[in-house]
């Protein structure tokens, strides 16, 4: 087991390294590196001065090392627009994104799996058929459109929930979170629903397909032949067996949800990292863009690593690196 962890960890570090090289070359070799540091409207003199000062006339590999060492120390440059260190900037907006994503993902998964298992267990009931039909919509409809409709209906028409912005915050561990407050929750509600919909649809379909497949296997038949109650079969066989495909997709979809938060944050004016990146792209605030890429790569690698660990915990075959 320890060997497995170490192996996966080394892989993760490796991927991070590759990502850093890609981002580096994407920015420094393709784009004009000086634009990272100097606003587009600087004079020629300042540009040349900066080039010399920042060592951009040095060989490329040397620049890469500087880049990486800066990264390690947490120096991601300064934003043109906000004129503050990017790390601070992102750090300030990260909790907002995190709480939105977490609430969406958790509710989508719990609800999705429950509905999906129900639909798979009773595939012919009209409830199941309705669930499946609605899930198709969750899949096809672009999320920004759903957000629009949500605002139109709940905020403008019914006036029940606010149309945007984040609610009151509460300080926990020195960070501002909004979900503990009622006002905060009312602000989270619509964007969270918007963000959760796609994942919900996917979880429902996955859980249903998995359930149908598993219930037809010999494992279940054998358990029934041994006289196990349906409740026990569901709890101890189905849930365990279905967790493997679900966790795989969960990991993939987590990254996807983080990405789609970009859209949701824009629609609902949610002050998170996603909105930051959209704004930065529009105004060409490159240090922020670079930092966002690195952050995303890091999150991805971390998520994959954690998922691998969870697999090892659940499936003994993975732990022991065994084949049948």
């Amino acid at each position: 087991m320890l060997g497995f962890i170490i192996q996966r960890f080394i892989q993760a570090v490796g991927v991070m390294a590759v990502m850093s090289v890609i981002v580096f070359f994407g920015v420094y070799a393709i784009g004009n590196p000086i634009d990272i540091v100097i606003p587009p409207d600087a004079t020629q003199e300042i540009r040349e001065e900066a080039i010399r000062r920042l060592g951009l006339d040095r060989p490329l590999y040397e620049q890469y090392f500087t880049f990486v060492s800066n990264l390690m120390q947490g120096d991601l440059g300064r934003s043109f627009v906000y004129n503050m260190p990017v790390l601070e900037l992102i750090g300030g907006r990260l909790p907002a994104t995190l709480e939105l994503v977490m609430i969406s993902v958790i509710s989508a998964t719990v609800l999705g799996i429950s509905l999906g298992i129900f639909a798979g267990y009773y595939p012919d009931s009209w409830v199941s058929k309705t669930i499946m039909a609605v899930s198709v919509l969750g899949f096809s409809v672009p999320s920004f459109w759903v957000g629009l409709i949500l605002i139109l209906f709940f905020a403008v028409h019914l006036g029940w929930l606010p149309a945007g912005g984040r609610g009151e915050t509460v300080m926990i561990w020195g960070v501002a979170w909004s979900f503990p407050t009622l006002n905060g929750l009312s602000h989270i509600a619509l964007p969270a629903i918007n963000l959760a919909l796609f994942k919900l649809a996917m979880m429902i379909r996955l859980a249903r397909a998995g359930t149908r497949e598993i219930m037809l296997t010999d494992t279940i038949k054998f358990a029934r032949a041994a006289g196990l109650s349906e409740a026990t079969i569901l709890r101890r066989h189905l849930l365990k067996l279905i967790s493997i495909p679900i966790i795989t997709v969960f990991g993939l979809e987590l990254g996807s949800t983080l990405a789609f938060a970009v859209v949701t944050e824009t629609i609902f004016s949610w002050p998170g990292v996603g909105k930051l990146i959209i704004d930065s792209i529009s105004v060409l605030d490159r240090p922020v863009m670079v930092a966002y890429l690195i952050l995303v790569a890091f999150l991805f690698v971390t998520i994959n690593f954690v998922i691998d660990l969870i697999f090892a915990l659940i499936d003994p075959r993975v732990r022991q690196g065994a084949s049948a």
Binding site: L216, T217, D218, T219, K221, F222, A223, R224, A225, A226, G227, L228, S229, T232, R236, H237, K240, L241, I314, D315, P316, R317, Q320, A322, S323, A324
Partner: protein, 327 residues
């Protein structure tokens, strides 16, 4: 001595599919005495597996038992409530399947799966459950049983896995064990071991067994009586030795003749020509007639089971000594 531990009368299990009604089991009757081993032989599609499922009430929709009686220890199983049926499954009658890798949950230890099977019918402490499980594992021939309880299915070889399945099936000392092609997925050498083990177990525990297989050779070494199935019906049944030596139904004769052991070296292997008809479009009358060398116009009517001297056959033109001569 009390009556048969299992008595099946005129069992019919039909599948109501979009393409039509599939009469998978069509009028099957047999008795099973305590400790007796019966072989249920037939090609794929003959209905032998569905018969096994029907006995346990495990027929999935769109199939269902439409007629007949299955009496286990004197109690009628057909028509029982779900709960009543479930309380008997695993306790009075149990079943093992062909591929033990598919039967056992790869994510749970052997010990956990055995405990779940125990807890389905009894409340035992973990220690007592483990003790019983270990004892049974030893009985089916698995060494270091106690340690193995903590192992996962993939850590066992194929033969060992099947033994584990057998152990689980015998946890509650059922009166009947239905084994659906249990050795088909195993090596020939392991097959022989398992067969031996099963015979010893049957003798020791008094559990009656129904051994379902397409392999006549394998079954005949173990079973004391045989039932040959074709297209959903039992076409011949009786004591194994008698059937093999002196078959009545042409299909049985054909099966025996096509055994490689019966072949004369240098001559081509005998085969029964043709294939079994689709159960959706059975011919009128005897289903075997199209493949039979002895068929006449009489075979357009459905033959009934002729019983004589402890054996039966469903044929208008039986092979061998004519009916009446007691073997």
């Amino acid at each position: 001595m009390t009556g048969p531990v299992l008595s099946v009368q005129n069992l019919r299990t039909h599948f109501f599919t979009r393409a039509g009604v599939v009469k998978a089991v069509d009028d099957v009757s047999f008795d099973l005495a305590r400790g007796e081993i019966m072989g249920l032989v037939g090609e794929s599609g003959s209905g032998k597996t569905v018969t096994g499922f029907s006995l346990l009430g495990l027929v999935d929709p769109p199939g269902r038992i439409v007629e007949g009686s299955v009496k286990l220890n004197g109690t009628e199983l057909i028509g029982l409530s779900h709960a009543a049926l479930r309380s008997r499954r695993g306790r009075e009658i149990s079943m093992i399947f062909q591929d033990p890798l598919a039967t056992l949950n790869p994510l749970l230890t052997i010990g956990q799966q055995m405990q779940m099977a125990i807890n389905a019918h009894e409340r035992l402490s973990q220690r007592a459950a483990n003790a019983r499980s270990a004892a049974l594992l030893t009985k089916v021939g698995i060494p270091s049983a106690e340690a193995r309880l903590r192992a996962y299915p993939h850590e066992f070889s194929g033969g060992m896995r099947q033994r584990v399945a057998i152990a689980i099936a015998l946890l509650h000392r059922p009166a009947v064990l239905v084994a659906d092609e249990p050795t088909t997925a195993l090596d020939v050498s392991i097959q022989a071991q398992i067969l031996l083990q099963m015979r010893e177990l049957a003798a020791e525990t008094g559990t009656a067994m129904i051994w379902i297989s397409h392999d006549l050779a394998v079954v005949s070494s173990l079973a004391t009586k045989l039932a040959v199935m074709y297209a959903g019906k039992i076409v011949e049944q009786g004591p194994t030795a008698t059937l093999l030596r002196d078959p009545r139904h042409p299909y049985t004769a054909g099966l025996i003749a096509s055994l490689p052991a019966m072949a004369k070296p240098g001559t081509p292997l005998t085969q029964i020509r043709g294939t079994m008809p689709s159960l959706l479009s059975l011919p009128a009358g005897c289903p075997f007639a199209p493949r039979c060398d002895r068929h006449t116009k009489a075979c357009l009517a459905s033959p009934q089971m002729t019983m004589a001297g402890g054996r039966g056959w469903r044929c208008f033109h039986p092979v061998g000594h004519s009916a009446g001569a007691t073997p």
